[in-house]
Symmetry: C3
Subunit: 347 residues, 3 copies
């Protein structure tokens, strides 16, 4: 099956119009150049605008078929594309994207006739409740929020203003969600924490009666799981951004503006400070603290508390400098064995 891949980014404009949009100069002869689409240096075809945001893409830019390229002010390389010089090519490109992007999907206010709305549900102004949404008894939703198709909101769950909850999200009873929160499809908030007491050869469930609290301006990716607290709350603070397939255990706290990249797992009762970054596939044990602005490299396993500002790497995670040294030494380990052998012979 052949797709016309440009369908969604088709534009019909001139280079002059784009130059005006981003505050760049363009030589008279190129002003009327027709720009039909936007693409990365690697994907761009004739008639496309691209951008140069990272030195490593210079060879790709040089061989790119793009007709025009956003480049830094001090850019001096020879390229086939017509250069548009701007302060920050990446940001300028974002502005162009937004300007020419397909209209974002808008869900009109109102409650779809198929939605199931429980007793005592309170809906703010201009809320949109889509097909097959289920809002159990006591749910409260602030104004301008959109609850997409097939979303489940459990008893007494609360959602603030200007939220968007994408299709097939499950939000269990009692969950508290602030303003301007976005939750992507397939995500589950408020599932029971993983807690059992071992007794007479069996794992006996410890009741999980706490809640999940998500503060303002948080975005949560697709198929994420955040367990409810054993008691009290599992707490994601203001401005955090959580990528797809992340797991957050019961009673975890994630401090303001932290980033959790895809497939991270955090065990129960661990606390993260502000501006923490956990890179992809990091695992963190339970009951520890990770200080403000700490950064943990991809695939690391954090087994004890981390001081603020540290950069860690490895399994178990150690200071990035120590980790790098060990990695360098490992590559010379074969050599070391030979050197010791030589010493032994010379003995």
């Amino acid at each position: 099956m052949k797709f016309n891949k440009l369908t969604r980014s088709k534009m019909n404009t001139t280079l002059e119009e784009i130059a005006n949009l981003v505050g760049a100069q363009v030589a008279e002869e190129f002003k009327s150049l027709s720009i039909a689409g936007i693409a990365s240096v690697g994907e761009a075809q004739e008639g496309h605008l691209t951008f140069f945001g990272n030195q490593k893409y210079l060879p790709a830019l040089k061989s790119s078929k793009a007709s025009a390229a956003l480049v830094p002010i001090d850019f001096t390389e020879e390229i086939n594309a017509v250069p548009l010089r701007v302060e920050n090519p990446s940001l300028a490109f974002s502005r162009v994207i937004e300007h020419f992007a397909p209209e974002p999907v808008v869900f009109a206010p109102g409650v779809h006739p198929t939605a199931v709305i429980g007793e005592g549900v309170e809906l703010g102004e201009d809320v949109s409740i889509q097909a097959f949404a289920v809002l159990e008894k006591g749910v409260k939703i602030g104004r301008n929020s959109v609850v997409c198709a097939h979303v489940y909101l459990g008893h007494n769950a609360t959602l603030g203003d200007d939220c968007r909850i994408y299709p097939n999200v499950t939000i269990r009873e009692g969950t508290l969600i602030g303003n301007r929160v976005t939750i992507h499809s397939g995500t589950v908030l408020g599932s029971d924490g993983f807690g059992y007491e071992f007794s007479q050869g069996r794992h006996v469930k410890i009741p999980q009666v706490g809640i999940v609290q998500i503060d303002d301006d948080v975005e949560i990716g697709a198929n994420v799981t955040i367990d409810r607290a054993r008691f009290g709350r599992t707490w994601i603070q203001e401005g955090c951004k959580i990528d797809n397939l992340v797991q957050i255990g019961h009673n975890v706290e994630v401090g303001k503006h932290s980033l959790l990249i895809s497939q991270v797992g955090i065990s129960g009762s661990t606390k993260l400070g502000k501006y923490v970054i956990l890179a992809g596939q990091v695992g963190v044990v339970g009951h520890i603290e990770i200080g403000d602005q700490a950064i943990v490299g991809a695939k690391s396993g954090v087994s004890k508390s981390v001081a603020p500002g540290k950069k860690l790497f490895g399994i178990p995670a150690m200071e990035a400098g120590d980790y790098m040294k060990i990695q360098a030494r490992l590559r010379k380990l074969e050599d070391l064995f030979q050197r010791v052998k030589t010493l032994e012979k010379e003995q």
Copy 2:
């Protein structure tokens, strides 16, 4: 947005009442102390009860604002909170939580008018089928089981008594589920196993015609995936507890009362014995056996069969003792390189 985080754990009771509940003594002067909530040592405020279950939280307990604390019988430290001495503070705390927890959500028996019920479906006594549930032809459900909103039960799937299937779970055709099984939201049982034959430059699908069987008293977390068998069954035995985002391949068998912590992945046809524990993010190759009561540490990669009772760690997984030794040596590797250099100079 400001939440009153205690909403769900508000209580209005005296310390005497709590002491009676857990069988503790309380001095006359503190009997009428008012307890308004329960919280961990770190989160507790004035008026709260907390508990001391782990020596590492002693500094936190000492600086806690809690008004009372459940502590061990032999506890002698000076703390600001009024101590309530009990055998097992953690267990006693659980009892208090249960007593004061918000009423659990109850789904009344009956079939929601929006549910789609196929031909020949058999429903036991007091079953609750919630909004938009789909039960295909031949599904059987035992008594007292709850099928929440948006759950899909494929053709001839069977569910025992006293089960709870949370919203947005998918249970594919032919799946067999025992009694007292809990399945959290977003989980998929019976998706096709990952099996292809490579032929003429393409991956040709091997039909996956087996089933998934879940025995009694199993709990499965959120967004878990358990593939159907190529033939026969993928089998989770009695009493197993499976955390969020775990992947279980086709024809895997998990022995009784095993624990699979979050983000574990088990490849096809591998067999786990009884009481096995796989910690978070462990990966296990296909076609091996892991013996009874083996324990595999977090993030390890198991590449060959494991004898009963072993404790493993690392990638590839090795006996925990050997792993610890190597880790200790790695931290002295830099030093070893220096020592060899010195020896070479002295030569």
Copy 3:
């Protein structure tokens, strides 16, 4: 609860019939032997047919209770089961499975009365749209495709011919899907890519206005997440097979006939060539290229571009040969420390 585990594979046939099916000879005396089921060597009971496809299962085959076994032409071991000699026992077994498998679930063409079909939706011949499916404005679906219960198809999403989209899948606006594509339950296509600019202490969202494109003959497992592009497309090319719980970031390209095993994560803008294999739990950083036919071992972390045909292992990933050497040396590290100590004493 007791299940009759053979329910779904019950057959009632003779060994002669099976021999004919796979082109094997069977001695006269065993022709009328009754075969009641099929099972692996470990699970097989009296009356079952099994197969011997892997030398490591020889002890299991010898102690198997199976009544008959498909074995290679040159098989000479003594076993209790009646041997059926064939070129490829595994393939022959697949043929038997298919022949005796339960009837696959068939969804009759038509649109379920509960489905919500938006304006301008185009449905091909013999399409089946199941209960509670939501097809937003402008969705196009080719002939013979099946959209199962609770599937969400966003605005202008396009699906080719002969596709099957299992229950609870979310396909966001603008997604392009080719012919003969299978998507398992819980999977999310087209969620926003993870992209923010850090400005004044906050993470500001970068609009994600591209799409996801899935080419012909792709199969995607359960609870997978594939993010839409920042602009342009995230692109899964023809014939790829993606296992459960895999994460694919924005603007990633996966070349033809590549295999991504369970729980793999690929960061934004990375490009994979053709016939690449990423084993379970592999992580790949963003903005790199992995060449055609490269193979990355389980749990590895790929941090820079990989040449075609390479076999990599480890965190960070290195050539498999180098990795194996280091692993072997690590097991002798303790010994090396002792040898250096001895040398120092002898100095």
